[in-house]
Subunit: 207 residues, 2 copies
């Protein structure tokens, strides 16, 4: 098996978001896909069960996804792609709109928005696969979307919430919540993730 | 709702194939996606339940997917994307290899191959969503993959098996097996699809 084969696939990057009560959560994903050509239109997303965004989707039964424009600024991707909603209100610095189901979304630097009601789900391990039926959709921009390949071509690492198999050279431990890699032979028992503050128990050894 | 929003997403095009006894089936899809970042690697594909390729996957419990190279010739895409396995042995003109589970695949004009064992499935209407665990994977080429947006930018129509919402201007009937559109106000009762030979009962009115 050569896992380099997995990296050949190209994906659209988007911002997945949902509300948990009055709190807004969101993360950068590559896992929005239309899954049927028939009516009603259905999309799937997969989300790490430990992510705050998943908890929000579970609470609200719905989500919003906005497709990132190719010229989306790095600051926005850093904010939503590499920080945890446990320690930061990611939407605080942005002009937030909400869809008919109360999910937050952004208009700027986005190409399109698709809001879905969750109609089915499948447990696939550490990730949950959610089937959504579209309730609202709109075009927000003219330009092309940002793909994962264009993003990584710029020397960027894959956002932790993206469902892309990651391999690393050498030993280390990966935070199952946000994807942060601790490089070292052993992980201190009182270690706390510098990105999302998850405890050492949430880290798994990389093979 | 503006379904133009759905067309903004970009996807990798690939050849999905499986064996049904000694018969080889395959079609061009945009629905292969990695769905978990954790081990073991899992991918989903969605396939129209009426397609011969789905019947083959159901029979064998496994499938092979090869990612199309950006320079993949039109003849290959025409053969696998717009013909039905009911009326044509699509693999007849190509040098076919088979993976460890007996699924056929092609090496030329392909970037990577991923073979999967089906471990779960979800009925999402006219399409079936299949969860596959990778059993074999290899890199077959250096270049970039062909994306749906690059393909349609060349003036091509979306291959019928692609899970992309299609809308049409005016009245007509769509073959639910292969996606062919019959343009007209009413469909003759003895009509047979010119692409896949499905009967009139397999056509649905387009809204």
């Amino acid at each position: 098996m050569n896992t380099k084969a997995f990296e050949k696939l190209n994906y659209t990057l988007s911002l997945l978001s949902a509300a948990n009560g009055d709190k807004h959560h969101g993360c950068i994903i590559n896992s929005l896909h239309q899954v049927t050509a028939s009516y009603p239109a259905k999309f799937t997303v997969t989300v790490n069960k430990d992510h705050e965004t998943y908890q929000a989707i579970k609470a609200s039964g719905s989500f919003s996804v906005t497709l990132l424009a190719a010229d989306c600024p790095e600051g926005l991707i850093d904010c939503f792609g590499y920080r945890s909603g446990r320690v930061k209100d990611k939407f605080a610095e942005y002009a937030v709109k909400t869809d008919g189901m109360g999910n937050p979304y952004l208009m700027e630097h986005m190409v399109a928005r698709i809001s879905c009601k969750v109609v089915d789900s499948l447990d696939i391990g550490s990730y949950m696969l959610l089937v959504g039926e579209v309730t609202e959709s709109e075009v927000l921009g003219d330009g092309p979307v940002l793909t994962l390949q264009e993003f990584t071509n710029r020397g960027k690492t894959t956002p932790p919430a993206a469902t892309v198999y990651r391999t690393m050279a050498g030993n280390g431990f990966r935070c199952t919540v946000c994807g942060y890699i601790y490089e070292g032979e052993s992980l201190p028992a009182d270690y706390v993730c510098p990105i999302c503050r998850a405890p050492a128990s949430k880290f798994v050894k990389q093979d």
